[in-house]
Amino acid sequence: MRKTARYILLLLVLLLTSTTLKAQDIVIDSIIPRRVLVRTSSHGIALLNNLDTYLSGYNYTGLGYHYNLENFRDAHFGSYKWKYQTLFNVTGGITELNSSTQYSLMANRFWSGYHPFEIGERLQLLAGVQIQLSGGALYIPANGNNLISAKLRLALAASGMAIYHIPIRGRDHVARYQLDIPLAGAMFSPEFGQSYYEIFGLGHCANTWHFAHPFNSPSWRHTVSFDIPIGSNRRNVTLRLSYIADLYQSEVNDLRTHLYSHAFTFGFVKTLYKVKQGDPIKAYTPY
């Protein structure tokens, strides 16, 4: 039984890391890369708790699928060195309140720049700013003219990260915590009793865009991850286990919304190197 489980795990690893292995094949120890990009693609299950009083005054709870794609690299602005992260994630799920069913789909695209602070050999703190674009929709088929509630928010956020390297049996394991808090931006919301027919059919859009700030849109996103190197030294594969708490909230036009997603994901870390022929080569990671 254990042997079967091991084969299934190996098959999953091979399937999900086929491109990773190709990318890493080009690494030769003596090259100094022009750019190193760490890409992590994760999949997982999310516990969802959705409230949108435009559709219903009560929490709908259920399970969903969560996909997260992260790119992380060094960047330069003249002589100033910083870290650049892009995130894309999507969560879709089916939630219920007794016999009533709701479908939800939310996507986020984040662009972040960080200033790194080295604290000792193992700990690195990063502080920076982030641009967040979040959008999606909730859908209750049983509702008539308000069966969908659309979400759209563009925000400037504060973002911080703590990265800790833990050597276990001579291999570098990485623990990471990231916190993103939107501070100011713009968000869409219909008026209290406004129909989408009025907004999109008749073009009556007054008072549907609002200045978003922590008092009317107190939201935050926590990410805790742990990178575990598996496989041999030559064909190194890194498994990432993560917990992502995405807590999106808003209260405008007498309408209250919360979209809580607690996702448990697993994925594989790929390191992509951009090199030019003739460059000296050396293995490197931005964190």
Binding site: L51, T53, L55, S56, G57, Y58, N59, L97, N98, S99, S100, I140, A142, N143, G144, N145, N146, L147, I181, E191, F192, G193, Q194, S195, Y197, E198, G201, L202, H204, A206, N207, P214, F215, P218, W220, Q249, S250, E251, N253, D254, R256, T257, H258
Partner: protein, 349 residues
């Protein structure tokens, strides 16, 4: 430096102490579900003032009357009936409670009045060889050469192409009767689409507004609604729209649009009304409630929630009913014929 830390701490405290945005605080008990329903209607229903003027609705009194009854409910079926009865106090066909026990309806907007329609009698006019497209049955009434189109519902989407084809096939006729009796509504966009093929220009037809707060008088300012020319064929010859008390919701809206056009006459009985665009919400036990939320007003800014009076009031007479004749269709035919007779007389003069 200490001061900076203090500011950072205070900012974080404010951010996290905003707390969670929570759901409505009503329990999933008979009293809790009653309170939830009463509050949803109290905050989101749009015709309190109008219903007060029209038939003296007292919503607070409704609470006092039905709350003790809800508390006494022994099972959820009894609760469903009690809550449904409370909603009927609004006398609004757009207010319903939906559960596994069924849907509660207020039907008196049409059942208290004459039917004024018979599909058996309609067969005598429509014949067996009628056209059928986009849910519309149509034929030419001979020997008067007047088109007849029966629009049973607006529940399905209508296309410019299909409407144009219907109008082209009826174009041999000198006038058109659009029969929307018993049309209980559907999509506003379908009603607009059909009406848009009867005007060549942009016409101001009414206003729409919505609740923008929880108070009974919290409304957005009314925004004008216009009817614009549809793509394809346009019918500008005389049109008679036939109505009865079962014309409701989007069909009522269709009448509101058509009556602003100069070549259109509304004939028959008063419509059933239903001018509030309904929205939905849910109770703690998962039951769904539908309620009027966005009033649509006519060109004079008046509600049409309790119906639109026809230009020419006609009921089907007992004599006609017994001999298989439809008084409304016959009167519409006479009206179109008299229009041309009058026109000919004017030309001769």
């Amino acid at each position: 430096m200490k001061k900076i830390y203090r500011y950072i701490f205070a900012t974080l405290l404010i951010l996290f102490c905003q707390g969670c945005i929570e759901e409505d605080k009503f329990s999933n008990s008979p009293a809790g579900n009653f309170d939830a329903l009463w509050t949803i209607i109290d905050q989101r229903y749009c015709f309190f003032e109008h219903a007060e003027d029209e038939f003296g609705l007292d919503w607070e009194e409704t609470y006092r009357k039905y709350r003790p009854l809800a508390e006494q409910c022994k099972n959820s079926m009894e609760l469903f009936d009690t809550l449904g009865n409370m909603l009927k106090e609004l006398r609004d066909g757009h207010v319903n409670l939906v559960s596994s026990y069924g849907t509660s309806y207020y039907w008196n907007w049409k059942l208290d009045y004459p039917i004024n329609f018979s599909d058996s009698i309609q067969r005598n006019y429509l014949g067996n060889n009628f056209g059928y497209s986009n849910g519309i049955k149509f034929n030419s009434l001979m020997p008067d050469s007047i088109g007849y189109a029966y629009v049973e519902t607006f529940a399905d989407a209508m296309s410019d192409n299909n409407i144009s084809i219907i109008l082209s096939r009826l174009s041999i006729n000198k006038g058109l009767i659009i029969d929307i009796r018993n049309n209980g509504g559907g999509m506003l966009t379908s009603a607009e689409k059909l009406a848009s093929h009867f005007t060549n220009e942009k016409v101001h037809t009414g206003y729409i507004q919505h609740k923008n707060g929880t108070g009974h008088d919290d409304f957005s300012s009314p925004e004008a609604i216009y009817l614009e020319r549809g793509d394809g064929a346009v019918w500008l010859r005389p049109v008679v729209v036939l109505t009865n008390r079962a014309v409701y919701s989007s069909a009522n809206y269709f009448v509101m649009l058509m009556r602003e056009l100069p070549h259109v006459v509304i004939l028959g009985d008063k419509t059933g009304g239903g001018s509030g665009l309904p929205l939905n919400s849910t109770l703690p036990n998962g039951w769904t409630v539908r309620f009027s939320a966005c009033p649509i007003l006519d060109k004079e800014g008046k509600h049409t929630e309790f119906g639109i009076e026809p230009d020419i009031a006609v009921n089907i007479t007992s004599e006609d009913w017994n001999r298989g004749r439809d008084t409304m269709i016959d009167t519409a035919v006479e009206l179109i014929n008299s229009f041309y007779d009058k026109k000919n007389e004017e030309e001769v003069e």
